[in-house]
Symmetry: D2
Subunit: 406 residues, 4 copies
């Protein structure tokens, strides 16, 4: 008979080979709690699910509640659930104490004895209950006296299990180091993108300026024309250097033809920005015949949207850049919820920002030549993320070839 307060939880799934059982046990112990295995029905073959019933023991109610909150995010549900509790937001932009912070997994909340789904899977938000429905809300957007879920009771999270059969691609869930063969990976990425498109889901490309510097913008434009880019996320730099390349043949002053710094060329990007500012924006520059080629031109011509988010290091910036970062987040957020895949290319800042807003179910591919960046991006808790350490220029060229070949 356990001392202290306890609650029985049920866990269902491929508990052992998904590693979930092990993580739950670890977390209970790490939080200074205890557990007893009440029952454990192991699936006989590797097709069958297992069901475990654990008794979780804490020092007091608060301790127990904290443990249940943590293991709840791994799918452990109380055998006898109660309704979720809410509290009013004390002021605009402030959550009540003890607010429930969302994961990016599919979540349901129990209201009036019924489980209702929470719309808008995104990490680190709050949950508003309104007219019997539930949706996530960013801290900055909450309004005073809205009903916000607090505590961990009455919440159910469906963890992503590690896929037993390879789904979208073979390299699923692993990092592809610089020492692995790349041709196979590129084939799989192309295949995955095709499937996402066939399902009618959006494909987000998050793009850093290195894509332009490496001469790969032309290959990305081929992907745009082939219909594989639903929206482009980036900053001032990627657009500026693409436009510089279109107007002056250089990127950050380096000639795209000769590969050498053009003397005096470092000013080109400033003149490019000034030219577009004079036109009133990128779309206007295309319409006025000032901008006639390049990635941004291709996006405008194909009517593909883009979100350019401002950063403290921007020159200019271009009129299209959203200089307020909260507004820029809002602009990106709406695309994130309806996407099926996200390709992150050589930008840590915008990739982390995007990754923070993506539901865990979105297949995400991060490509960078720096293994530390790939590790940081790939290691964000989703089973659907793959990191590829390679030269983004050569990667895009081969991906565009592969896509066109199909």
């Amino acid at each position: 008979m356990p001392h202290g307060h306890y609650e029985d939880v049920r866990i269902t799934g491929h508990l052992i080979d998904s590693g979930i059982m092990s993580r739950i046990m670890d977390d209970v112990v790490a939080l200074d709690g205890e557990f007893e295995t009440v029952s454990f029905e192991v699936g006989r073959t590797n097709e069958d699910v297992s069901v475990a019933l654990l008794r979780i023991i804490g020092h007091d109610e608060a301790h127990l509640d904290r443990i249940l909150g943590v293991i709840g995010q791994l799918g452990a549900e109380p055998v006898d659930p109660s309704d979720a509790r809410t509290a009013p937001a004390p002021a605009d932009g402030v959550f009540p104490d003890g607010f429930y912070a969302t994961s990016n997994l599919e979540t349901a909340v129990r209201v009036g004895g019924r489980w209702i789904p929470v719309s808008g899977s995104e990490m680190d938000l709050g949950i508003v209950i309104e007219d019997g429905a539930a949706h996530t809300v960013p801290m900055a957007d909450v309004r005073a006296s809205e009903h916000i879920v607090v505590g961990h009771a009455g919440l159910r999270v469906r963890p992503l299990e590690r896929p037993r059969d390879k789904q979208d691609f073979e390299f699923m869930n692993s990092e592809v180091s610089s020492e692995k063969p790349k041709a196979l990976v590129i084939r799989d990425v192309a295949h995955m993108l095709k499937r996402v498109r066939e399902r009618g889901q959006r494909i987000i490309f998050v793009v850093g300026p290195a894509v332009v510097h490496t001469g790969a913008a032309a290959h990305l434009a081929r992907l745009v024309r082939a219909g594989y880019v639903s929206v482009l996320f980036g900053g001032n730099a990627v657009a500026v250097h693409d436009i510089e390349s279109a107007l002056y043949g250089t990127s950050l002053g380096v000639s795209m033809e000769a590969g050498m710094p053009a003397v005096g060329g470092h000013e080109h990007h400033l003149r490019a920005i000034n030219t577009i500012r004079g036109c009133g924006g990128i779309r206007q520059a295309v319409k006025q015949g000032v901008l006639t080629e390049g990635l941004m031109h291709t996006l405008v011509s194909m009517d593909i949207p883009y979100v350019l988010a401002g950063s403290i290091r921007d020159d200019g910036p271009l009129p299209d850049v959203i200089t307020d970062v909260l507004e820029a987040q809002s602009a990106m957020r709406e695309y994130c919820q309806t996407s099926g895949a996200c390709i992150m290319l050589s930008t840590m800042l915008h990739s982390i920002a995007t990754g923070n807003m993506l539901p865990a179910s979105v297949t995400t591919v991060c490509v960078d030549i720096n293994p530390a960046v790939v590790t940081k991006l790939a290691d964000r808790g989703s089973f659907q993320t793959i990191g590829i350490v390679t030269d983004v220029g050569l990667f895009l060229e081969m991906l565009a070839d592969e896509v066109e070949r199909r």
Copy 2:
């Protein structure tokens, strides 16, 4: 007798051992121009300056003008100077075509036959002439019909020569790799900071969140208390994790005591942000007794200003964060012109942003464990920049020890 258009320029200084003469010749040839050495008086000893007279030859006036613009930034002045030309800005936020883009070096402009200094040395801005005075202006801040300098005529730049005698510190102008002895460097940095302070100049610290994660915020706070920090530049993250550390004892969920991720601790930073939002801001939280320790608390207590610039990846953010990046740039800009030293710690984004605004004469020290970041930051054309590849946590501890020892 040269074909094409030409102009004679004079160059004065330690032309050979500073490498300036070599760079001028290279640039002329790279721009497809020619030069003839009209005269070259070499200083007899390594104390004497040299004076060279070069005839620069271009294909036509425009070509010649372009060459003169580039080598003008290296200190080559026409023997017979003319006045600078100006043109009105065509619209708010737009420079006239052919606007002169500034370097971060001391610059003078010739107006009515007189050389007048340009105030506000900063890269990539324009120059406004107003009431017989000249000052730099960011592209976004120019107003329609202001008189902006165009072309390269009538401009004089004083290049920084490589110091013949070591000035501020011994490692001047070199990158300190991870394989070099660090104790000496730290001693020199401490000495340099002391001298800058004695000259009454500001010391800017640009700080990334790794400073908190590594447990070094306490050592930075020691530098604040010792009077070595005039202003802190950073983003939401560094302040959030410092406050998380003060409120919960974790940084990004990692216990500062045990060094282990606290289970469930990844939410701490959200709760910390929410708490400060509830107070109305960091200063208010200090006043209300909510925030009682840490780096931000020390800054507020010592009345040291800080600029927190927003980024697209921010959670929250804290109310103190300036979410519009142009406003944030303006807030940083005013400190940059009056500083004597700038220490950049483990943040590429904010360091590049700051570096873009600093006059070349400001001694800048970049510290990061990633050599690629250090190279990128140190390699920005100033002779006063030093990059140090090391562990920022251990660096700050030793720097604070060194400063306190003096």
Copy 3:
């Protein structure tokens, strides 16, 4: 009733929270086999061990044998074991086909119905049975007609479980990134070394030349004098640069005093080598009064052994360097079996070589400023390895301070 051939295996231990059960299931499936859970007795609390009985099913005997071989290394033993099989080595330096390749875990082999321990835990060797005893043997050292174990039958491996209670140090089994606090780690490493020494086990230091370049050789020498270094492994370079530093005050031509490259100093290491060659070796140079300070001098004075292994990039080399790499491996091997801890400092080549020879039970600490090196070294399958991304110079200074403080 399973199709195909099967064998029942028993697995005992903290199966779920150690992750071993999950790895066994994964491996069976990855090898295209099947399993059924015959029984699974789960420990009721997190103190109790679990016992699982799995039926492993393969296509045929060879397939089944292959699966049993792989999961045998994770501790799965056949319920009805048979004796190990052996075959004679066909020639000197050649193992028989199908030879059993060792792991670095504690291993036993069944001979004549009895389990006998295999001495010399080291990865990737063969096992010789001789006079009723078993020991490991490197491929190059096997002699024709020795009895070598083949296949996987009759072998038992004891896997290292993840320690439930922190043993040697708190950071056990995790990589310490550059963004974690280091002071705690250093305290733990000092504590661990003390415990290893109290147990009477050896401490191996594997040292690259960066230790000298960073000025940290003096701190390592303090550890030698404090009795924390039982043997030093390295190459020509670390010894050469230490001696260069003693004779000329430079390391790779860089002044240890001023931190600047001494002009013409790149020859110093050649002259240092030539001087020691003239003496006949390092020990002779110490005895003749030619070498009077530095790390190598300290080792010789304290009578601490060192193994300097040759490499293709060596200048000279010093007479003490073992230029044949197989001989060098033999010299290192004997120390590896009796060590309790191994500290690897800024050398990938010698660290990998040493890691290959260490039993899994040896606590290993890898320190390097390059996270890719740390990841590569730490990720070698032992639960007793910790990687620390930091500046090795500052690390050694603080570790020596910590050790002396105790």
Copy 4:
């Protein structure tokens, strides 16, 4: 009239734009000497050479000699040269004190009033005078009483000037970062290799195991078949993993087809080694029909030589590996003197070893995904070295395509 001892030296060439004049002045000052410019005839246009006459002043003869030695390596020759001095080697493998250490530049030595060329340009060796001829000798190979050049008198070095016109390829003398366009670089490398082959010079490929892991060995084999590889330098690992790939379809246990670790596959490389040891070596394995594909098979079939140098971390090793590192150096050395180009692919150890033996005139291309490796290799004082930061697998595929297209 200068105090102290002095000597007048003449320097001829493109002194200013090559930067040589500046380096000489810097070095004199850094060595605490002084100089006076006696005369300086500057070439009038950028086609003409300049001639400078400098008076170099030292504290005493020894100091002056040291300065002359350093600037002699930059091409400064005494106006009144004397003969070189020699001293007998005191023992086998030991140079006399004050021995002249070679650069990798074209060198001449003055004997009996005549300048004779020194054969065998390689860094850090000694010079033997024998029968009126001069050649370099490694420290380990010198025999007692051979006549070795000492001091700096009577030596003349021809520095490589930075090429005024692009010679072998456009990117000459610059590092190609991961952010530069690669297609151009690859075209230039292909062009350069073609020119070297047409001149009848050797092309050395230095190859690390990542070439096999990335699946690029097949592309390198295409270059072998196209006649672009004269000799391959590598270690045990590259050959082992290529053979593992041929025999088992894996490289370091990772399937080359599926890109996934084959379970149990980490033993494959051991079995591959054992198999080749059983055959007696790689050539024998090809002849016996055991090894029928892959890079090593292609080399043997095309009768292209290879040098496999042993390292302390080798498993096995293969019988073809030269386990004594001094023997391995000798085997590599003879190819280095007759080569015209050297391509270094993903191996720091073997690349540094090879770079140490190459004359400065050999065009060297280093390819690695790690910018730190490229910087270290490219930064070794030769104007003919280019570093390329990219994915070696994709690089080789494109290079082979480019070569076959021609």
